[in-house]
């Protein structure tokens, strides 16, 4: 109340002032658009062009929604392994999905053993959910991941504990997509940190090597990297040594992702104010201590949302392995259509695969927005 330097008399004089001003009579409070009519008027019919647009939208809805419901729900065939039933019906053939969903989800994995990829996937997704909650970001989470990776590997490959061995050429569907994406991220991440640090290094040779790698990979499409992995890797290796197709694709994806992640990490590094580097130097910390204890913990926090975004786009990009002949989710959805009696039901097949991709990506993009809000601690340099 009382400002410093004012005598009590002055304060009283100031507070008495408004008495001389005649206040306007109070107005009725503004009507808030709580009523449905007000809301409709404000949001749909506020002007002539707006009204026209609204009518156009209503017409579009009228043209698309009823036929869509007819197709997807009313006229649809839900079960029964007979494609003829579907061909006679007007609507969607969800029977195709009931018939083929095991193949689309798990690919060529032996039918009787498919509880194994199912369990592995449940473990995997469960751990992903657990690790999406920031307070759980503790050392035990790393151990949990090691355990989950090991048990997923045992489940998928088999060969121990009385599980029938399954060669990784028979892996497919959602587990393969998840493996390619998550292993890609986990392996690319350390590499990307090294690349980002190298790009900001004072040593010209190291900087040039890192910039060259990052810009080369970012300048070419993923397909060309995958082609390189599939046709050139066998040439690179000494005679007699072969590596399987899955590993080659995985290496290609790791190298590709590392270049993009490196840019996300570099963004984080650049957001650290200079003073942090100088303070660490003044403390006499060595380069690696400075980087590991001071810079990276702050930089990675800033870089997490872009890293999640990168993970989303990598998750979608794993679908490109269809071109080098791996059975990921998209390939199985496409291959399920090769069965002649079911060939006509491509919309159902692609829609099914698209919904799985969509659910994963939508969840992750919402998650990245949540993280961005949560990690925002006001240290951003503006």
């Amino acid at each position: 109340m009382a400002r410093s330097g004012e005598t009590p008399g002055q304060i009283i004089a100031r507070e008495e002032e408004p008495k001389d001003v005649s206040l306007p009579p109070p107005k009725a409070p503004p009507t808030s658009p709580v009523l449905a009519v007000d809301w409709v008027r404000q949001h749909l019919f506020s002007s002539v062009p707006n009204t026209l647009l609204t009518l156009l939208c209503f017409w579009l809805l009228w043209e698309t929604v009823p036929p869509l419901i007819d197709w997807a729900l009313i006229g649809a065939v839900w079960s029964g392994g007979d494609p003829q039933l579907c061909r006679d019906a007007d609507g969607a053939c969800w029977a195709f999905i009931t018939e083929k969903h095991r193949f689309i989800l798990f690919g060529l994995y032996p039918f009787d053993e498919q509880w194994r990829p199912r369990l592995a996937m449940a473990l995997f997704v469960g751990t992903l959910l657990v690790s999406s909650y920031p307070p759980f970001w503790r050392p035990w989470l790393g151990l949990l991941w090691v355990a989950v990776f090991t048990s997923c590997g045992i489940l998928m490959w088999g060969g121990v504990f009385g599980l029938t061995p399954v060669d990784n050429t028979r892996w497919g569907g959602v587990p393969l997509t998840l493996i390619l994406a998550v292993v890609g991220l986990v392996c690319a991440f350390p590499l990307s940190i090294l690349l980002a640090l190298g790009r900001r290094s004072d040593l010209p040779a190291i900087r040039m090597v890192c910039v060259g790698f990052i810009e080369l990979i970012r300048g070419v499409p993923l397909i060309s990297v995958l082609f390189m992995a599939s046709v050139m890797f066998p040439l690179f290796l000494p005679e007699g040594v072969t590596i399987d197709k899955l590993l080659r694709a995985q290496v290609g994806i790791i190298l590709f992702t590392a270049a993009y992640l490196a840019e996300a990490v570099r963004g984080g590094l650049q957001s650290i104010p200079r003073g942090q580097f100088e303070a660490a130097d003044a403390m006499g910390l060595s380069y690696w201590k400075k980087t590991l204890l001071i810079i990276l913990p702050q930089a990675l926090k800033v870089a997490i949302p872009p890293i999640v975004n990168q993970f989303i786009s990598m998750f979608k990009d794993t679908s490109l392995v269809i071109i080098i002949g791996l059975f990921d989710l998209l390939t199985t959805a496409k291959t399920a259509l090769a069965d002649p009696p079911w060939r006509a039901f491509y919309i159902e097949s692609y829609l099914f695969a698209a919904m799985i991709y969509w659910a994963f990506c939508f969840f992750m993009s919402r998650y990245s927005q949540y993280l961005e809000r949560r990690l925002e601690t006001g240290h951003k340099r503006s």
Partner: protein
């Protein structure tokens, strides 16, 4: 390092000197990379020798021996690998350029629509953006390709929405004007019109700065750009001969064609990249504070002028850098053409690799071309970005 007064500093060991360490670590890294490269190259050479695969770019001179489904330049299976690769590059450029133009248009519309005060329009745009950007582009390409080839009727039952236009599962066939020198004249007139309008704009701007008088630049410029070609067309005798597609056997002959592969690729790329551009445009517009609009209106500017003179220049500064990377993404994603059989660079290079076995050279060509295209697009967009950036700040 502690150093007391009066005593000479104790020299630390040479391996603790930062400069020596820097040089040493660089030597180690370079040496390691050099060893790795040497190992890979020697392996590759040995492997190539045992498989008796030739090296070098000599294969470019040989006959390719495979046909491509569409080509902007005349090409036959008897032509060389060099020519088929050029065909691939041209096809890649064609779909990228058309795709970038359409995706910009479509994405801007969707981005503005998401900010619309009309609730329904905003929801439609949101469903489009959130729906399509979370589905892999390759899946969308397969979907569109299958829709086009399976739902459209065969050439004999083709839709014929207007004379000379046929829509079937062989693509869109349309009547094309037969070449006439008048069209060359029209192209020249168009160029003159564009240069004239540009010069007029500059002159009008200078005059406005000097005297304050406005000049109807837009109307006169549009009249120049549209009017001159029309004038040329009339002066050239108004040729009307058309090459109309006609059903011969199982397919159409004559006229121009949009193939199903090209259409599916274009639709997929435009819809997918459009979602990203929509978000960029929306972010750009939201980044300009509302006070700017109100200040513009308070100055008495019309809504159109506020948009053009106040909002757009500020929003563009935010929009251009991420837009550049979307253009690059679209260009790189056009390489997915190989999955639906559009003969782009990756597709023809892949066929060439399979035929000759010269994987190293083929992939080097693909990478070199994409790097060149990427660098050119970034160079152009960086130039544009500098042009619209705040002057004198930095």
């Amino acid at each position: 390092m502690q150093q007391s007064l009066g005593q000479p500093a104790k020299r630390s060991a040479w391996w603790n000197d930062a400069r020596v360490r820097g040089v040493l670590s660089q030597v180690f890294v370079l040496g390691g990379i050099g060893l790795l490269v040497w190992y890979l190259v020697s392996n590759t050479l040995a492997n190539l020798e045992t498989r008796s695969i030739a090296t070098g770019f000599g294969f470019l001179e040989r006959e390719a021996g495979f046909a491509v489904s569409e080509s902007p330049i005349p090409y036959s299976a008897a032509d060389t690998y060099y020519r088929v690769l050029v065909v691939g590059i041209l096809n890649t450029l064609k779909v990228s350029i058309v795709g970038i133009a359409l995706a910009t248009l479509f994405g801007t519309l969707a981005g503005v629509a998401r900010l619309s005060s009309n609730w329904l329009v905003a929801k439609f745009a949101t469903i489009y953006v959130e729906g399509l950007r979370n589905i892999p582009i390759l899946l969308q390409l397969f979907f569109w390709y299958t829709v086009i080839t399976q739902t459209l009727p065969g050439p004999r039952q083709a839709f014929n929405p207007m004379p000379g236009v046929f829509l079937s599962n062989r693509g869109l066939q349309y009547a094309e004007p037969v070449w006439d020198p008048t069209y060359g004249l029209m192209a020249g007139a168009l160029a003159v019109g564009i240069i004239g309008a540009w010069a007029l704009g500059r002159w009008a701007h200078k005059r406005q700065e000097r005297t304050g008088r406005l000049f109807p630049t837009f109307r006169v410029g549009a009249a120049l750009i549209l009017g001159l070609p029309v004038l040329a067309y009339v002066l050239g005798g108004a040729p009307t001969e058309l090459d109309v597609p006609a059903l011969k056997g199982f397919n159409f002959r004559g006229g121009g064609t949009v193939t199903p592969e090209f259409a599916a690729l274009l639709v997929g790329l435009v819809l997918y990249t459009g979602t990203y551009i929509a978000e960029i445009v929306r972010g750009g517009i939201l980044s300009v504070s509302h006070g700017q609009t109100e200040a513009g209106l308070a100055l008495g500017l019309s809504r159109g002028l506020v948009m053009r003179l106040i909002l757009l220049p500020q929003a563009l500064r935010v929009i251009i850098p991420p837009l550049t990377s979307q253009y690059l993404n679209l260009t790189k994603n056009s390489s997915l053409a190989v999955a639906i059989g559009f003969p782009d660079l990756v597709s023809v290079a892949n066929t060439s690799i399979n035929q000759t076995g010269q994987a190293v050279e083929g992939i080097a060509i693909i990478m070199a071309v994409y790097l060149t295209v990427s660098l050119s697009i970034s160079a152009f967009m960086n130039w544009y970005n500098r042009k619209i950036a705040l002057q004198g700040v930095r």
